[in-house]
Amino acid sequence: MASNSAEVWQDARVIQTIPLTPRIRRIVLEPALPIPVAPGSHVDVRVRIEQSTDRRSYSVVDASRDGTRLAISVFESAASRGGARFMHDLEPGAHLEITQPLLSFPLRIGAPRYLLLAGGIGVTALAGMATTLSAIGADYRLVYAGRSREGMAYLDELSAQHGDRLELRISEEGSPLAVTELVGGVDDSTELYMCGPIRLMDAVRRAWIERELPLPNLRFETFGNSGWFDAQEFVVRLPAQGIEVAVKADQTMLEALENAGADMMFDCRKGECGLCEVRVIELEGDIDHRDVFYSERQKDARSKLCCCVSRVVAGSGRALIEIQSS
């Protein structure tokens, strides 16, 4: 919310780092300027990747009451862009630069019913909300979906904390998430908070619209880092600025353009605001729209995209896009 958007960068000391699954590490931080952490908060972290620095957003999974200690959890996927590797290599005693907890996914207190839906590492955005809802005696359910038990973080903790209110959906165990059924059980006054892969969130959104449930009750957070296709390298051309550059699988189109010296407009860098919009002049391959700014109709038109998150994937030939920027 507006009241919490000015970033305050500060030092944070790593006090603990432990593996939760083969690919997820829990990292406990002690920020220099602690403040109480509202559920749904994340911190932005400066990560070093080779010679350069970049920023990544991580949800606060849990925190001490006064915010002197906060825990994040970092998932290193096959498509990780280097930030996760840096985070996984941290040792206790290391120092990081982080923002204060930023609240871009606020939990509204006072809804009659809540449904929290976590897909994989998305559970990190919802664990704090579940704790709060439990503490105030709210009517809530936490549905946690994943491929396999070994890959799902915090299973024991969540089970101990939420008991029957926790529902596990594990595809390898034959109980995958049935989105239509899940949304079918939702009524007009339920607020659904979700965080997970874009396919999951898109399926929920479609089912939600299908059932004509109130759209403002569907709450979600996307850091724009998962798409319909695996990220692959493609070429972007920006003739107006005389630029042609390869966008590597581990960087965004906006990053590649910036590195090549393009003067780009942007704001949220997570596919929400639409300020980084570019127009398509020529396209070889297809667009992997990873934003929540465009409607289905606009995405299908293939004429514009949010260059902060969206990508190009090859069809039968090469992957290339020529664009016009603002």
Partner: protein, 363 residues
């Protein structure tokens, strides 16, 4: 560390219910009012539910209160037409086909009770309606009365100080309720974690003009001396209900028999606006002659005049505080009630991590 006695004025707790408006002020026309430093857009939905939203559009912070109400419960920003529902969720961004999921304005918990709209501006997970201060005389069928709002150009703490020590009546309210016995009589102060009580009895005295009139409303032609009481009930953070009255002298009022007297309750609840301004909601309730609108109106205008004298004093006091930033406050024995109020508020601020390490400068 608790800084009692050195802070001239205090910050206000945020984890508390404050009155934002009288019930009749909350309508289908948006009310703009700042409570505890937070500008609010206050209105009712079509089905009568009160709503308090942060009065600043998510987009460019234009005041929503200058916008309009649309549909059953929505408010539309006057600048670019962005609409929010009563939960503060954006429901329409006119210039695009989707809605940015981050677009929200804060919707604060509200409760309508005792003819007031109460709002909670702090941690919403702690907003428990059972902690709204007891002001039941506002709506109890055994009581009647009415009141008004004073927009006071002073820190809210100064109003609390004023109400917790009524010896000022002798000097500020000479023509109505003041009398020498006020500062001559003894008083008893007690407190709990969230309340403070100051009780004062003045036995066998001549009633001042205000009370003689009230006695004659119930006992036509009344002459003679009275036993007078003032029992001040503070409930954190800023509600003070004062049990006041007189009874024919020696008829047992101090022992609980008030049948030969008249009883009023001065209901006061003060909502900070800024560090130097506050909204002071008051009402004078009584439990006799419930049928008489004339008495209700007379009492309201009488108290209005009395409180006008307080307002003038508080305005002058805040100005003097501002003009003398290097001077401190000192206390008297009569300040016991007010100082317990300060101690309780300081503890609330400390629990919120908002007690300043150094004394708050009033300037």
């Amino acid at each position: 560390m608790i800084q009692t006695t050195v802070n001239k004025v205090l910050d206000h707790p945020l984890n508390a219910w404050y009155v934002a408006a009288w019930d009749h002020e909350v309508t289908r026309t948006i009310l703009a009012r700042t409570i505890a430093g937070r500008p609010l857009a206050i209105y009712r939905t079509e089905d009568g539910r009160p709503v308090a939203l942060a009065d600043a559009c998510w987009h460019r912070l234009a005041p929503l209160s200058l916008g309009k109400l649309v549909g059953k419960e929505d408010i539309q920003c006057p600048y670019h037409g962005i609409r929010y529902n009563s939960a503060g969720r954006c429901v329409s961004m006119p210039a695009q086909e989707t809605i940015n999921p981050s677009a929200t304005v804060a919707s604060f918990p509200v409760v309508e009770r005792y003819r007031y709209l109460w709002v909670w501006l702090g941690d919403a997970t702690l907003a428990d309606p059972s902690t709204i201060p007891d002001m039941h005389q506002m709506t109890d069928p055994d009581w009647t009365g009415d009141g008004l709002t004073i927009y006071a150009p002073c820190n809210y703490q100064l109003v609390l100080d004023n109400l917790m020590d009524l010896t000022h009546e002798e000097f500020v309210h000479t023509s109505s309720i003041g009398q020498d016995e006020l500062s001559e009589s003894d008083f008893v102060t007690s407190h709990t974690d969230t309340t403070v009580t100051v009780e004062r009895w003045m036995l066998d005295i001549e009633p001042p003009p205000f009370w003689r009139k009230n006695m004659r409303d119930k006992f036509p032609g009344f002459e003679g001396r009275v036993d007078r009481w003032q029992i001040i009930h503070f409930e954190a953070p800023s509600t003070i209900c004062i049990d006041v009255g007189v009874a024919k002298a020696g008829t047992g009022a101090p022992d609980g028999d008030r049948s030969q007297g008249v009883n009023g309750y001065v209901m006061n609840t003060i909502s900070p606006e800024t560090a130097k301004t506050c909204h002071y909601f008051w009402s004078f309730q009584r439990n006799y002659r419930l049928d008489s609108q004339l008495i209700t109106t007379q009492l309201r205008s009488g108290v209005y005049n009395v409180f006008g004298e307080d307002e003038a004093m508080l305005t002058a006091q805040q100005a003097a505080i501002d003009a003398n930033p290097d001077y401190e406050f000192y206390s008297l024995n009569i300040d016991a009630g007010g100082m317990w109020v300060r101690r309780i508020i300081e503890r609330m601020l400390e629990a919120e991590g908002r007690l300043p390490a150094v004394p708050v400068a009033a300037g």
